[in-house]
C-alpha cells in the first residue's frame, strides 16, 4: 500500500474537515462559559421553559439570561447578576426559592467573579503555550540522533503541525456547536484540548520512532522508508486509538452529564489525532524533505548557469 503517494488526498481530507470549523471560529469565535466570562450558572432538573425562568427571575433583574436544555433531563440557566457581588448569593437564594415554587429543583450552582475568570483564562493560555513549546523541545531532544536526511527540528515541527490540526479541529467543532446549539466552553475544555495535544504527539512519536529506526537500517528512498514505517505501525495506531476511543465512548454514554462535553472534546480530538499522526505528520516530513531537495537542486543549478 502506498500511503505517501496519496498524501495530497490526505491533506485535502484534513483541509475539508478543518475549514468549516476555522470559518466558524473566525465568524463566531468560541462561546465562552462563565469560567472565562464570569457570571452565574444554575443547573436544574427537568426540561424548564424560558417562561418559567422569566417568572422566577421577576424583580431580580438578571441580565443575559439563557436557558439551554442539556442532555435528557437537565436544563442550564445562565445569567449575569448586575447587583454588587455581596448580594449575589442572596439573589440566587431568592431565584432558587422562586424556581422551587414552580416545581424546579436546582442540582448545582456556579458563580464566577471577573477576577477569577480572568485568572482562569490567563492560565489556560499560559498552559497551551507552555505545552506546545515543551513538546517541540522534547521531540527535538528525543530525536537529536535522528539520522540524515531529516533534522531533529523538522520532527518537532511536523508533530506541532499535526497537533495544531487536532486542536483546530476540536476548537472548530466547538465553535460550530456553540453557535448553533449554545454549547459553551469552560476550564475543563482547555484541559481536553491539552490532553488531545498530548495524545496527538504520543501517536505521532510512535510513527516517527519507527521512521528513525528504519532510516538507520537505510532501506530505499526516504519516501519508501516513511511509507513502510507508517504501514508497520498502523495496526498499533488504530488499535490503541480504538481502546482509548472505546473507553471514552463508555464515559460519554454512561458517565456523568457534567463531563459529557469534556468527553466529547476528547473523543473527537483523539480521533483526529489518530488521523493526523498517520496521514499528516509523517507525509508532511516527506513533503518538507522534497521541498528542501528541490530548493537545494535549484541552488546548485543556478551557479552552473552563471558559468
Amino acid at each position: 500500500m502506498n500511503l505517501i503517494g496519496k498524501r495530497k488526498l490526505w491533506y485535502a481530507i484534513s483541509f475539508v474537515m478543518i475549514v468549516p470549523g476555522v470559518i466558524s471560529l473566525m465568524l463566531f469565535g468560541l462561546k465562552l462559559g462563565i469560567d472565562f466570562s464570569s457570571g452565574q450558572l444554575s443547573v436544574v432538573k427537568g426540561n424548564v421553559s424560558v417562561s418559567t425562568v422569566d417568572a422566577a427571575d421577576q424583580g431580580l433583574g438578571f441580565k443575559d439570561v439563557q436557558v439551554v436544555v442539556s442532555g435528557s433531563d437537565q436544563t442550564q440557566i445562565r445569567f449575569r447578576d448586575p447587583a454588587p457581588q455581596a448580594q449575589h448569593e442572596a439573589n440566587h437564594q431568592k431565584f432558587k426559592a422562586a424556581l422551587a415554587k414552580r416545581g424546579v429543583t436546582e442540582l448545582s450552582f456556579d458563580s464566577v467573579g471577573p477576577t477569577v475568570s480572568s485568572t482562569i483564562a490567563t492560565n489556560a493560555i499560559i498552559s497551551l503555550v507552555l505545552v506546545s513549546l515543551a513538546i517541540v523541545f522534547y521531540i527535538a531532544f528525543a530525536f537529536r540522533n535522528a539520522p540524515q536526511p531529516v533534522s531533529p527540528w523538522s520532527f518537532g515541527f511536523m508533530a506541532i503541525a499535526a497537533l495544531l490540526h487536532d486542536a483546530l479541529f476540536v476548537l472548530g467543532v466547538f465553535s460550530i456547536l456553540g453557535h448553533f446549539f449554545g454549547v459553551e466552553i469552560d476550564a475543563l475544555f482547555v484541559t481536553a484540548v491539552l490532553t488531545v495535544i498530548g495524545f496527538s504527539v504520543h501517536d505521532t512519536i510512535v510513527v516517527f520512532d519507527r521512521i528513525r529506526e528504519n532510516l538507520r537500517r537505510d532501506k530505499g528512498s526516504f519516501e519508501t522508508v516513511v511509507n513502510n514505517s507508517i504501514l508497520e505501525t498502523i495496526a498499533r495506531s488504530i488499535n490503541t486509538s480504538l481502546t482509548v476511543l472505546l473507553t471514552l465512548l463508555a464515559l460519554f454514554l454512561f458517565g456523568g452529564q457534567s463531563i459529557r462535553l469534556f468527553v466529547l472534546a476528547l473523543l473527537i480530538g483523539i480521533a483526529s489525532g489518530t488521523y493526523s499522526s498517520i496521514f499528516n505528520a509523517s507525509p508532511l516530513l516527506v513533503t518538507w524533505h522534497n521541498f528542501r531537495l528541490k530548493r537545494a537542486e535549484k541552488a546548485r543549478a543556478k551557479p552552473k548557469k552563471n558559468k
Partner: protein, 438 residues
C-alpha cells in the same frame, strides 16, 4: 533477580493492592488487629455534594510588608469560622496572592456559610456620653477578647453573650474602662461591624475579665455572634468571588455514572485485547487489573501524604479511565512488535526480548509527552482544582501503567513462553501459515 522471584513479588504486590483497593479493606485491618485503620478515597465536591467558595481579600489598605501576615491570619480565622458547623472535612486553602478557597463538603445552607465566613466581625467598645449621646472610641477592642459563648440569663430572662477577655493587659484595660464608665455614669456601646449590637447600657466595674453582654437577641443570634467573636475579626475585608455548589443527588448520580462508565470501559478494553491478542491479551488484561488495584491503592494512601491528597473528582475519574486506554497502549506496541518479530521467523524468546527492547523508546517518548502535559497542567491549575485533579490522576496513571505494562507483562510473558503450551503463534494472534503463503 530471577524470573520466579519477580513473579512472586508481582503476585504479592497484586494481592496486597487488591486487598487495599477493595471497598471493605477495614475488615482486613481489623482481622490483623488494627482497630481503627481504614482507608478511603477522598471525593471531590462534585461527587459528594457541597460547596466551594473563593473569597478575595481587599489588601488595598494593607502595607506591602504586612500582606503575607494578613493572608495567613485570614486563613486561620476563616478556618475557625468554617469549622463551626461541625462539618468535619472543611478545607481552607490560600489561593494565589489574595484569595482563600473554602470547600465545604455536604453543606446544606450555603447562604448561611457565606454569611458566616465573609463577615468581618469587627468588635468595638464605645463610650457614650450620657448627657449629649456623643460616642468616643476606647482602648479596648475585639482583639482583646479571648472567647465568647452564648448563655441564658435568668435575671434578665433573655439570651446573652458571655465574653472572656484575654488576661493581663487586656483585662486591666477593660477593668479601667468599666470603672471609669461607672464613675462618670457614661454608657458602654458594643458594636459589631459598625452595627450597635449591645447597649448602650450602664456598666459596673469589671476587673475579673468576664463580661455579660445583653441586647435584644434570640438564642440563635446570640450563638452566632458568640461564634463570630470567638473566631475573631477578619484582618481584612473579603468578598465572595467564586462559588460552585453541587447538590447531593447530582453527586451520587455522578458517582454511579462514573462507576458504570469505568466498568464498561475496562470491560470493553479487556474483550478487545483478548480477541485481538489472545494469550498475550490475557496477560495484558491481568496487568491492567494489577494497574487498577495499584492506582486505587495509591489514591487511598495519598491521604497520608502531608502535602497533597488526591481528591477524586469527575474530571479525575475521566483522567483515570483515559489512563486505562494509555496503559493498554504500551502493551499493544509491544505485542505488535512481537508479532512482527515472530513473522520474521525469530524464536519466541528472541521475539519477546526484541519486542520489549524495540518498543521501549516509543513507549518512553510518547508517555513523556503526556507527562509533560500533565506537569504543566498541574503547575498552572492552582485556581482550578478540577483541572488539577485531572492532571494528577492522568499523570499518576501513566506512571503506574509504565510499570505494569512493561514490568508485569514482561515477567508474565517470559514465564508463559518457557512452557511448551505457551509457544503457539496462533495464541498471540499470529497466523504463521497465512504469513508463509504471502
Amino acid at each position: 533477580m530471577s524470573l520466579r522471584v519477580k513473579f512472586w513479588l508481582i503476585c504479592a504486590l497484586a494481592l496486597i493492592t487488591v486487598i487495599l483497593a477493595l471497598p471493605r479493606e477495614d475488615t482486613v485491618f481489623r482481622a490483623l488487629g488494627f482497630k481503627k485503620a481504614s482507608l478511603s478515597i477522598k471525593q471531590g465536591l462534585d461527587l459528594q455534594g457541597g460547596a466551594q467558595l473563593v473569597f478575595q481579600a481587599d489588601l488595598s489598605k494593607t502595607q506591602a510588608s504586612q500582606k503575607q501576615a494578613a493572608m495567613d491570619s485570614l486563613v486561620t480565622v476563616i478556618t475557625k469560622r468554617a469549622n463551626f458547623g461541625g462539618t468535619s472535612e472543611v478545607v481552607v486553602q490560600r489561593q494565589g496572592s489574595d484569595k482563600v478557597s473554602v470547600s465545604l463538603p455536604g453543606v446544606k445552607d450555603v447562604n448561611d456559610a457565606i454569611d458566616r465566613i465573609g463577615k468581618t466581625a469587627d468588635l468595638e467598645f464605645l463610650e457614650v456620653n450620657s448627657q449629649n449621646n456623643q460616642t468616643t472610641a476606647t482602648n479596648v477592642a475585639g482583639k482583646d477578647v479571648d472567647s465568647a459563648s452564648a448563655d441564658y440569663d435568668p435575671q434578665r430572662a433573655q439570651p446573652v453573650v458571655r465574653l472572656k477577655l484575654k488576661g493581663g493587659d487586656a483585662t486591666k484595660r477593660f477593668g479601667d474602662l468599666t470603672t471609669k464608665l461607672s464613675q462618670s455614669g457614661n454608657l458602654l456601646l458594643t458594636t459589631l461591624d459598625g452595627q450597635p449590637t449591645f447597649g448602650p447600657a450602664k456598666t459596673e466595674p469589671i476587673t475579673d475579665g468576664t463580661a455579660i453582654l445583653s441586647g435584644n437577641l434570640d438564642v440563635n443570634a446570640a450563638k452566632k455572634i458568640a461564634d463570630e467573636i470567638t473566631a475573631g475579626a477578619l484582618p481584612v475585608p473579603v468578598t465572595l468571588v467564586e462559588q460552585r455548589s453541587v447538590g447531593p443527588t447530582l453527586g451520587r448520580e455522578s458517582v454511579r455514572a462514573s462507576l458504570v462508565a469505568g466498568a464498561i470501559g475496562l470491560g470493553v478494553v479487556a474483550v478487545f485485547m483478548l480477541m485481538y491478542y489472545r494469550l498475550a491479551g490475557l496477560l495484558a488484561v491481568l496487568a491492567l487489573l494489577v494497574y487498577t488495584a495499584i492506582t486505587v491503592t495509591l489514591y487511598k494512601l495519598s491521604a497520608f501524604l502531608p502535602g497533597y491528597t488526591i481528591v477524586l473528582t469527575l474530571a479525575g475519574i475521566a483522567g483515570f479511565i483515559l489512563s486505562i486506554g494509555m496503559a493498554v497502549d504500551a502493551n499493544i506496541l509491544i505485542f505488535e512488535r512481537m508479532k512482527e518479530e515472530l513473522r520474521a521467523g525469530k524464536s519466541f524468546v528472541a521475539a519477546v526480548e526484541a519486542a520489549f527492547d524495540r518498543a521501549w523508546t516509543s513507549i518512553r517518548d510518547s508517555n513523556v509527552s503526556t507527562l509533560i502535559t500533565c506537569a504543566i497542567l498541574f503547575m498552572t491549575s492552582s485556581a482550578t482544582p478540577i483541572i488539577r485533579g485531572f492532571a494528577v490522576t492522568l499523570g499518576l496513571g501513566v506512571l503506574v501503567s509504565l510499570f505494569t505494562a512493561v514490568v508485569v507483562t514482561r515477567t508474565l510473558l517470559r514465564l508463559v513462553i518457557r512452557q511448551g503450551w505457551g509457544r503457539h503463534p496462533r495464541w498471540y494472534g499470529v497466523n504463521m501459515a497465512e504469513e508463509g503463503s504471502k
